[in-house]
């Protein structure tokens, strides 16, 4: 120690600045350091929450995009499907899906005989239960579309039932199958044999994005098709109504309206409207659009109108802010060379404000896309299996929406719906990310051109 001190004495070269901080400066610096720590802690907590949320959703939901399929040769028995051999489509249509179920049982029996697989003491009836209940419906649709194929043997790729699918996703085990009423260990053994024979495969499942919702008896067949289309229709309605109305309102208020107490009141109300809880718009929508105007329940048009009301304040506020950001010199220059007020606004101010307006609109739409509460009240939280038609009629057909589908699936009893609800959240998040990315791109690319 003494050496060091003496060395320092010999060559007086201070390691730090000569400036001695007084107590007050030290306190201020300490306060700043503390504040920075708080900031880092806050961000860390937020990031951890986000990572936790995303990883749990991805962990639960990514398996929804894969599904187990079983390939079988089915003999379309004329004795069952077309009893008098007339080939009359009206008569063939009389055979319900209950009449198609035995065909699958038969085709299992044939498969057992042909390839020698099978579990001792297991009946073909139990084997047939490994196929989704969607299977007979698919068969029937195929036969009605191709009645001339009756009497032929056709290879089908059926969805495996939810429990068999769960076995390959780790949800069902041999142990849980023993106490599970809906699946037996023999079925799982047979599934393994089928897999070894190449007849059973777990692969990417487009059906999750394209199929309609399904009942609790067949979670494996449930998809997001109707919900995605319904959400898309609603967003079209919101875009077509909220953008023109919102932009027109803002231009008028910002550029033309006289400054008096009426416009002040309107301004305050628009800001207030932005803070109104969304469920209030649902009540309004039920009262005005359904009960008073007589629009149909569960229809995207009503959902779109309700979400329009919700999105308008966001768009108006964003538009006004971007109109305000255009420098007054642009207006003055336009007016100075003889443009009318309207020409100045539409030829010069509006194009310059457009990126900001679009960004605000897309953020408003993204907000509307994820909204559930108002849709609860207008009948969108329903089991809808029919795809809505093409617009404009399709706007009036019943449809679901993405966030509503998540809500619906979390309430179902079958555990297979848990993974599908998380899968639906992933799809919703991807859409939201895309919309926000577009908003950021637009802002980067076009903002500040002067």
């Amino acid at each position: 120690m003494t050496d060091v001190t003496s060395g320092a004495n010999m060559a007086p070269k201070p390691k730090t600045s000569l400036l001695v901080q007084d107590a007050r400066t030290k306190r201020r610096n300490a306060a700043e350091a503390r504040f920075r720590t708080y900031g880092v802690v806050a961000i860390t907590i937020a990031m951890l929450a986000l990572v936790g949320l995303l990883s749990s959703i991805l962990y639960n939901g990514s398996s929804a995009f894969r599904q187990t399929f079983i390939t079988l040769d089915v003999y379309l028995d004329p004795a069952k499907l077309d009893k008098d051999g007339s080939g009359d489509i009206a008569k063939i249509a009389k055979v319900t899906t209950f009449g198609y179920a035995p065909l699958i049982k038969k085709s299992f029996e044939a498969e057992f005989e042909k390839s020698g697989i099978g579990v001792d003491g297991m009946k073909s009836k139990d084997a047939a239960k490994m196929i989704s209940k969607e299977g007979p419906a698919e068969l029937r649709r195929f036969v009605l579309a191709h009645p001339h194929m009756i009497g032929e043997t056709v290879t089908f790729e059926f969805l495996a039932s939810g429990r068999i699918d769960g076995y390959y996703k780790g949800r069902v085990t041999m142990k849980s199958a023993e106490i599970d009423k809906n699946v037996s260990p023999q079925q799982l053994q047979l599934a393994d044999q089928l897999k070894a024979a190449g007849l059973l495969e777990t692969k990417w499942n487009w059906g999750f994005l394209t199929r309609a919702d399904a009942s609790e008896n067949r979670p494996e067949a449930a998809g997001l098709g109707v919900a995605i289309l319904g959400s898309f229709y609603m967003m079209i309605v919101v875009l077509c109504l909220a953008l023109p109305i919102g932009v027109a309102t803002s231009i008028y208020l910002e550029e033309f309206a006289p400054r008096n107490w009426i416009t002040d009141v309107i301004e305050v109300n628009i800001s207030n409207l932005a803070a109104v809880p969304s469920i209030v718009f649902g009540i309004l929508g039920l009262a005005i659009f359904i009960n008073f105007a007589g629009l149909p329940q569960s229809a995207p048009i009503v959902g779109g109108l309700v979400l329009t009301l919700m999105t308008l304040p966001t768009i108006i506020i964003a538009t006004r802010a971007s109109l305000k950001a255009v420098p007054p010199s642009i207006r003055d220059a336009a007016l100075g060379v003889g443009a009318s007020k309207m020409q100045a606004v539409f030829h010069h101010v509006l194009p310059l404000a457009a990126p900001g307006i679009l960004t605000g609109t897309i953020i408003g739409l993204a907000q509307a896309l994820g909204e559930t509460a108002p849709l609860l009240l207008i009948g969108m939280v329903a089991f809808v299996r029919e795809f809505p038609g093409a617009p404009p009629e399709g706007f009036f057909d019943p449809a679901a929406a993405l966030p509503v589908q998540v809500y619906n699936w979390t309430q179902r009893a079958d555990p297979a719906f848990v993974e599908r609800a998380s899968g639906a959240i992933i799809v919703l998040l991807v859409f939201l990310l895309c919309m926000n990315a577009i908003a950021i791109l637009l802002r980067r690319r076009f903002e500040r051109r002067w």
């Binding site: 319900t96 899906t97 209950f98 209940k133 419906a137 029937r140 069902v172 849980s176 199958a177 106490i179 599970d180 009423k181 809906n182 399904a214 009942s215 609790e216 008896n217 067949r218 109504l241 109305i245 309102t249 309107i266 109300n269 005005i288 659009f289 359904i290 009960n291 105007a293 007589g294 629009l295 149909p296 329940q297 569960s298 048009i301 109108l305 329009t308 009301l309 308008l312 009948g379 939280v381 329903a382 089991f383 809808v384 299996r385 029919e386 404009p392 009629e393 706007f395 009036f396 057909d397 019943p398 979390t410 309430q411 179902r412 009893a413 079958d414 555990p415």
Partner: protein, 344 residues
Amino acid sequence: MSFKLTASAVAIVAAASAADARDQLQIKGSSTVLPYATIVAEAFGENFDFPTPVVEGGGSGAGRKAMCEGVGENTIDIANSSSRIKPSDIELCASNGVNEIMEVRFGYDGIVFASDINGPSFAFTPADWFNAIAKEIVVDGKLVANPNAKWSDVNADLAANDILAFIPGTKHGTREVFDKKVLEAGCKATGALDLLIDANGGDKKAGKKACHALRTDGLSVDIDGDYTETLARLDANPQAIGVFGLSFYQNNTDKLIVATMDNVTPSTETVASGEYPVSRPLFFYVKNAHLGVIPGLQEYIEFFVSDDMAGPDGPLAEYGLVSDPELAKTQDMVANGTPMGPMN
């Protein structure tokens, strides 16, 4: 504001003129009936030339209220209900011009008591439940605030688990059945009913109502969500016992162990035979004025109660419905469109 309202009003008028006649059935009501209704709706859409009906949940009361809103394309056709329609509903219906309602009982539902699969199994009686979660119970011939903390305090034969019960909230139809078939029965069996009637000045009705009062020290928890929430709560508290629908239990037999009631194990068979005491009928109510107007309505209700669907081997029974032994009578009634008579 006014500008916006005018603009949206214009949009509505334009929209309304484009709307055409409804061709899909609209159904709303009980969340207990919802899975059955969706299974039928799905099969109906597959096998008939009509589009798949739209089925909404929301609760029995909400469904009946929506049905009673009036007649016309803008109102629903069928209300699903896990409890019988109330005279007040019928009055509301009548005041809105909904006069003929068809009451269709399509089966029964059991209510089961289940706990985590890794825990001990229980054999309850209604009296056990009353003594475990009622506000006041009988000790030495007197009503006292419930002192029990463990199931073994209630009944020495039960496991020494802490009492923690997740029961359906008051907005559920299931709670009504629980109150009536479990709490009232237990109240009577333990002798608390007589004491409560005396305490209410001999008023029998008030005495029965007092049986429904539950302890408020947190050992009995109302669940206002659905059974998935109850299941999640059981996951977090493996000691607890939850109240479920029979069908929900049957879809989760790998997670839950079911308790017997009066030594009867709940199953579709014991509920159908009436041995298992805690069960209730399930209904749907049809607005007769829509029969023949909304395409597919008659076909849907006939399909619902057909042997293929609601019979003992049908897909509804497979999901957990207890088939109605008098289904044939219901089928006749539905075929003739017989409206329900005055309530007794």
